[in-house]
């Protein structure tokens, strides 16, 4: 920095400490800075990882890169991917929901049980209402009684996992009603490739939440609460109302996830999706959203969800044990949190 520039910004407040472009990000000057600028975008790291994984599997296997397999990857992603969107909203407020898939499983068994009596629309409605109500209970305890989300949802996970087994007497219901399994079907987009309704629903969920996050006051309030609850409150944000709302919305997303899950596997199984609680968190974290809240977004989570599925799918096609996928995912999670920590330190 030249002396003239230093002098020039002296008299008034707010001299430029970083050279910033229109959108407030550092303006790149050299190649090294260009790279740094690219990685200052939250979704940049996950995007590179995803492209790299796709490239490696496309080269090393003959069966990875074709329409049918790519459509399969999307369908494999959809349930956890949808839950991960709800998880993103919650984590942005520096909360967490360990029970998100447990709530969804309750939804599937309630839907499956009621559908046995023949009315699939009623089944869908009641299952959905149960999911939203359970999300609301979590939200009420977290926002009004101020208990830590980790503890509240850990309790919910334990209780709801058992409740699902009790409700079905540990049996599972086959689901045949067309209305409940329709999200597994789809529109053919050439040859044997199918774009399922479930994927389209996922895209709608993504579109609505990213709009809400970036274009509404509610979205700004989520980030503000994640940055600092006290500061948000001092600025007049209705913190407990927003927090309650975000867990209720999590419940709505669980309901959608339950519908998608029955489309993917037409069986309401109380033991299914046991790992999806943590998988949804993995997708969010790999997508670059900070577990400390206030930083991240939906775009990263889409990439994070896809990375996890691509690794699983690709390693199977390459004839490598899927256990290695879990090792790789584990390493990715830790790496993602490390990157987040470095970024936060630099900005503090």
């Amino acid at each position: 920095m030249s002396e003239a520039a230093t002098k020039e910004r002296e008299p008034r407040i707010g001299g430029p400490l970083v050279a910033a472009g229109v959108d407030g990000r550092p303006r790149p000057r050299r190649a090294g800075e260009l790279v740094r600028t690219f990685f200052s975008y939250q979704a940049a790291g996950p995007l590179v990882a995803l492209v790299l994984a796709i490239a490696v599997f496309s080269v090393t296997t003959d069966t990875f890169l074709n329409g049918q397999n790519l459509s399969l990857i999307l369908q494999q992603t959809v349930v956890v991917g949808t839950l991960a969107i709800g998880q993103t909203l919650i984590i942005l407020t520096s909360g967490i929901d360990l029970s998100i898939a447990a709530i969804m499983v309750i939804g599937t068994v309630v839907m499956g049980r009621i559908a046995l009596d023949g009315n699939w629309a009623l089944a869908l409605l009641v299952g959905g209402v149960v999911c939203v109500a359970l999300g609301a209970v979590n939200g009420l305890i977290i926002s009004r009684l101020n208990l830590p989300p980790f503890i509240v949802t850990l309790g919910a996970l334990t209780a709801l996992t058992a409740a699902a087994q009790l409700f079905t007497s540990s049996a599972s219901y086959p689901v045949s009603a067309k209305g409940l399994t329709i999200l597994g079907q789809g529109i053919p987009v050439g040859g044997t490739t199918v774009l399922s309704w479930g994927v389209l629903v996922w895209i709608v969920v993504i579109a609505v939440t990213s709009y809400a996050l970036s274009r509404t006051a509610w979205g700004a309030h989520l980030y503000a609460i994640g940055n600092s609850e006290t500061a948000a409150k001092l600025n007049g944000v209705k913190v407990s109302r927003v927090l309650f709302g975000v867990y209720v919305l999590g419940g709505v997303i669980c309901a959608i996830g339950a519908w998608q899950a029955l489309g993917r596997t037409p069986v309401a199984d109380p033991s299914a999706y046991a790992t999806a609680n943590l998988d949804s968190i993995t997708a969010v974290v790999v997508g670059g959203t900070s577990l400390f809240g206030g930083r991240g977004g939906v775009l990263g989570t889409i990439l994070g969800s896809l990375i996890v599925t691509v690794l699983a799918n690709g390693l199977v096609l390459a004839g490598i044990s899927s256990l290695y996928q879990q090792v790789a995912t584990g390493i990715l999670v830790v790496a993602a949190v490390l990157v987040d920590q470095v970024m936060r330190k630099r900005r503090a």
């Binding site: 707010g14 970083v18 229109v22 274009r215 948000a232 600025n235």
Partner: protein
């Protein structure tokens, strides 16, 4: 601003005999307070003198057991900070109360966002980002705060710049008074000076300022009058031009009796 004469300045905010007790502890023991239009009033006091309790009482953060509060001569009862805000009183807090990952515009409008007119605003809750950016740029301009872009995220700003955003926020929304609770406590020397300049610009724009501070040089640099708080109540009010830092510290610590310095209360003077 200059419509009031020297003899009868307009009292914007006045409190009489505020009391707040917690069991046997008296946080406020019959405190008086007055703020005159167009002035910077510093509030000083030792740790535990109860100055922040008094400030909380006049900003609605706590409800006093006894006493009266008047805004522009009208009796008010604040039950919470929102009531004070509605009455046109904005507070800047010592802990940088900004949201780091939001940009400057979003911070200025946090909790008061403008929505688009018509369908887009009512149904899809779309924000009128354009209007907010325009207004934010005007506010920053009026206060002479120079930043690269109002779209800059607050986390890219220095501590002084962040506090400037908080001050701009208060000055944008306050219709009657801006209260600043140790706004420079977390800042370095240069940044402190920048914020002090900013406080004077807020005053020049026509808003009276209450500045709670520990720092005598800061107080003597910007304040018109100094409210000295001691043992839960107002010891006295002095005019900065008629006193010295050592006298103020003397009254603050009890080394000097309050009547040893020239009293500059407005309300009492009118009464006698």
């Amino acid at each position: 601003m200059t419509t009031t004469t020297e003899q009868s300045p307009r009292v914007i905010m006045q409190a009489n005999g505020l009391v707040k007790r917690y069991g046997h502890v008296t946080a406020i023991g019959g405190a008086d307070f007055e703020l005159v239009d167009g002035e910077i009033l510093a509030v000083v006091g030792d740790n535990g003198a109860g100055k922040s309790s008094m400030i909380k009482a006049i900003t609605g953060a706590l409800v006093p057991d006894e006493g009266e509060l008047f805004i522009d001569g009208e009796r008010v009862h604040f039950r919470n900070p929102l009531d004070a805000r509605i009455a046109g009183i904005e507070t800047v807090y010592q802990e940088l109360a900004v949201a780091a990952s939001l940009d400057i515009t979003q911070n200025l409008f946090l909790g008061r966002e403008l929505r688009k007119a018509g369908f887009a605003g009512r149904v899809t809750r779309a924000l009128d980002t354009k209007a907010m950016r325009k207004q934010a740029a005007e506010s920053m301009e009026n206060l002479g705060i120079r930043i690269q872009s109002i779209r800059q995220k607050v986390e890219t700003l220095s501590g002084g710049q962040r506090q400037a955003v908080a001050v701009a926020r208060a000055a944008t929304w306050a219709r009657r008074v801006v209260i600043m609770d140790e706004p420079t406590a977390a800042l370095g020397v240069r940044e402190t000076n920048q914020v002090l300049d900013l406080i004077q610009r807020v005053k020049a724009n026509g808003l009276p300022v209450v500045l709670i501070s520990h720092n005598m040089p800061d107080v003597f640099q910007v304040a018109d009058r100094i409210h000295i708080h001691r043992l839960g109540r107002r010891a006295t009010v002095v005019r900065t031009s008629e006193t010295s830092p050592s006298d103020v510290v003397g009254v603050m610590t009890g080394a000097l009796p309050p009547d040893a310095v020239p009293c500059a209360t407005v309300v009492a003077a009118q009464a006698t």
